[in-house]
C-alpha cells in the first residue's frame, strides 16, 4: 500500500501539469486570493500524475523536498500566533488546576473570619478577595477550575468516543445504518439541548461532577458524529481504500489502518471545541443550580452565589467568569489554529 496517495500529506514540490490537466491557473489564483489556502500550484495533495513524475525524478537521483505531515502541521500551527499564546495560557491554567491542592493558599472551605468580603488584596494573599464568610476566593476559583477541567475532559473523551464510533459506523456502512444513525443525530441536534440537560441533570445527575459529565456527553456526541461521518464517507471512496479492499484487507484493518488515521484531524478539532462547549454548558447548569452541587466546587455555582452582592463585591462574579472566558477563548483559538494546521483546504469554520 503506497502512502503516496495519502491525501493528508502534501508534497512540497510543484506538480508537473501535463497538457491534459483541466485545472486552470485561474483557480489557483482565485484560491490564492483567499490567502488562507496556499496557492494550489505550490502545495497540494499529490495526484497520480505528480506521484508518477516524482517517482521518475527520484529514479533520476533528483532531490525532492519533503516535509512529513506532522512537521507541516506543527509549522502551520506555530504560525498561528493566537493559538500558540492560547496554548501556553491554557497549559498554565491546566497545571494550576491539576496542582490546585498545592498552589491554593487556602482550602476550598477554609474560612478567614478576619477578612470577610475582602476586595482583592495582597494582604493575606487574597489576590481575588474573599467572600461573605471569609473564604479565599482565589482558592475557590482554582478548585472550581479543576472541576470544570475534569468535567470537560470527561465530556470530550466520552462524547468523542461515542461520536467517532457512531459517525464512523454510519459513514463506513452507509445505506440504511447511515440513514438511521444520522436521523438520530439530527434529532439530538434540533432539541432544545439545555432544557433536556436541565431535566436530566435535575432528576438524574444532582451534584457529582462525574454524573454531570456523563449527562453532558450524552448530548454532545452528535456534533463529532456528524463530522466523523462526513470524513468516513469521503475517505471510503478514495483510491487507497479501494486498493486496500482489493488487496483483501478486512473491514477492521481498513478502518483502523487506512481511514481512522486520516480522520484524526477533524476528530481532534471537534474534540477541542467540545471541551470549550462543555465548560460553558457545565457552568450554565451549575449557575442555574442544576449542575454540580456543593460541596463540590464549580465556577458556575460561584457566580450564582456572588450574583446577589454583585454591585458591592464585583470580584465575586467577575473572577470566576473571567476564568471561564479565558479557558474557553484559549480552547477556541487553539481549535482554530488546529483546524488551519490540519486541513489546508478548509476555509469554512
Amino acid at each position: 500500500m503506497s502512502d503516496r496517495h495519502d491525501p493528508g500529506r502534501p508534497i512540497h514540490t510543484k506538480g508537473a501539469d501535463d497538457l491534459a490537466e483541466t485545472e486552470g491557473a485561474t483557480e489557483a489564483w482565485t484560491e490564492l486570493a483567499g490567502g488562507k489556502t496556499p496557492p494550489a500550484a505550490v502545495e497540494r495533495p499529490a495526484t497520480d500524475l505528480e506521484a508518477r513524475l516524482e517517482a521518475e525524478l527520484l529514479r533520476e537521483g533528483l532531490e525532492v523536498e519533503h516535509l512529513t505531515q506532522w512537521q507541516l502541521i506543527r509549522r502551520k500551527f506555530l504560525q498561528h500566533k493566537l493559538a500558540v499564546v492560547s496554548l501556553i495560557v491554557l497549559v498554565i491554567i491546566i497545571l494550576a488546576g491539576v496542582f490546585a491542592g498545592t498552589i491554593a493558599p487556602y482550602g476550598f472551605e477554609e474560612i478567614d473570619l478576619q477578612n470577610r468580603s475582602q476586595a482583592p488584596t495582597l494582604d493575606g494573599f487574597h489576590i481575588m478577595g474573599t467572600d461573605k464568610i471569609g473564604r479565599d476566593y482565589f482558592s475557590r476559583v482554582l478548585f472550581g477550575t479543576r472541576t470544570s477541567l475534569i468535567v470537560a475532559s470527561i465530556v470530550a473523551g466520552v462524547s468523542t468516543l461515542i461520536g467517532t464510533v457512531v459517525g464512523g459506523l454510519a459513514g463506513y456502512m452507509g445505506g440504511r445504518t447511515d440513514n438511521w444513525l444520522m436521523r438520530l443525530t439530527d434529532l439530538f441536534l434540533t432539541l432544545p439541548g439545555l432544557a433536556i440537560l436541565l431535566i436530566l441533570s435535575a432528576f438524574l445527575g444532582q451534584g457529582s461532577p462525574i454524573r454531570v459529565a456523563f449527562i453532558l456527553a450524552f448530548l454532545f456526541w452528535t456534533a463529532t458524529a456528524r463530522i466523523v461521518r462526513g470524513v468516513f464517507l469521503s475517505l471510503r471512496e478514495k483510491e487507497f481504500v479501494e486498493a486496500a479492499k482489493a488487496a483483501g484487507a478486512s473491514d477492521g484493518r481498513i478502518i483502523f489502518r487506512h481511514i481512522l488515521p486520516n480522520a484524526m484531524g477533524p476528530i481532534i478539532v471537534s474534540m477541542t471545541l467540545t471541551v470549550a462547549t462543555a465548560i460553558l454548558v457545565e457552568a450554565a447548569l451549575s449557575f442555574l443550580g442544576f449542575g454540580i452541587q456543593p460541596p463540590n466546587p464549580a465556577l458556575g455555582k460561584l457566580i450564582a452565589d456572588g450574583q446577589d452582592s454583585m454591585t458591592t463585591q464585583w470580584w465575586l462574579v467577575t473572577m470566576p467568569g473571567l476564568l471561564i472566558v479565558t479557558i474557553s477563548l484559549c480552547i477556541n483559538f487553539i481549535g482554530d489554529g488546529l483546524r488551519d494546521a490540519l486541513d489546508p483546504t478548509q476555509v469554512i469554520s
Binding site: K14, A16, T22, G24, P39
Partner: protein, 352 residues
Amino acid sequence: MTQAALKLSDLTVEFDTVDGVVHAVDGVSYEVYPGEVLAVVGESGSGKSVTYLAVMGLLPKPAGRVTKGEVWFEGENLVGLTDKEMEHIRGNRMAMVFQDPMTSLNPVFTVGYQLAEALQTHNPDMSDEAAKDRAVYLLSAVGVPEPETRFDQYPHEYSGGMRQRAMIAMAMANEPALLIADEPTTALDVTIQAQVIEVMKTAQRETNAATILITHDLGLVAELADRVVVMYGGKVVETGTIDEIFHSPRHPYTLGLMMSLPRLTVNLTRLRPIPGQPPSLINRPPGCAFHPRCGMSAGREICRQEVPTLASTNGGGHHSACHFFTEVARELEMQAADLGIQAEGGVLDDVG
C-alpha cells in the same frame, strides 16, 4: 498595418502569498489585431490566464497587482484605470468566456435575467422588453433551442454545453472588440466541444472581434487560431503563426509540447512527456526558466546564467526566447527521426 486591438507591453503581474511573492506574469509583450484569433498556450501556472485577469482588471485584490507595463486597448492604457472606468469596458468593449460553464453562471438567477443584465448594464436606456428580445435573439444565435422558453430557465436546467453557449452569448451581447476565451472547451465532453468551437467560430466571424484563446489544447489551437503565443514560467518563450509554431518550432519547450502530442501519422507506443515540473514562480531558476528541464541546455553555462530575450528567428514575426534557437531545428529533425525508429523499437527513454 491596422491598429492592434490589444497591445501588451512589458506587462508584469505579481502576487503576494504566504510563501513569498509569485511572479506570475513577467514582462510580457505582444499584440492582437481585429479579426484575428490569437492562441495563448502553456502549462497551468505559466501565467496565461493571469495575464487576462490583469487585462480585465479582475486580479484578486489585494494579493495580485500589475507592477509594471501597459495594456493598450482602443488607444487607452488600462493599467491604472479606476474600477469605475474598467466597469464601462468590461463586458462591453471587452468580454470574457470562462472555463467552467457549470459554475460560471449564477445559480439563483435565470439565464435570461443574467443575459439581460449584461445588456442593460451597458445600455441603461434599454427597456426590459428590448433587453429580452435581444437576449432571446442572442440565445438563438448561439444555437440554444427554444430560446423563448430557455430565457426563463435557471442554469441548473441547462446542460454543460448549453451553459457554455449562454456564456458565449453573454460575452458577445455588446459586440465586444476583444473576446477572451479562457479554456472554453476544457470542461466539456468531446462531442460538445466541437459544437461550442463552431459557435465560437461563427460569433468571431460575425463580429470581427479580436479573439484571445487561452488553452492548453493544441488541437483547439490548430482548429481556431491564426497566431500562437507560447508562455512558460510567466514569460513569452515563442510567438509565431500557427504554421511556424506547429511545423518549425524554435524553442525547446514548444518542441516538447509538439512532441508530447499524440499523432495519427506515427505509430507510437508511448508519448513523450516533458520531464520535470514547471518552475517555481517564487524562486525562479536563474537564467532561462526552462533550463532544468531542457535537453538542449545540457549543462551549458549561458542557459543557467543569462535570461534569453525574445528575438526574431526569421527576420519576421516568428520570435523565440532561446539562446540556441538555431539548434532547435536540428533537434526537431533528430527527435522526429527518433520517433520513427522508436515507433518500431518499443520503449522510449525520456527526452532529457
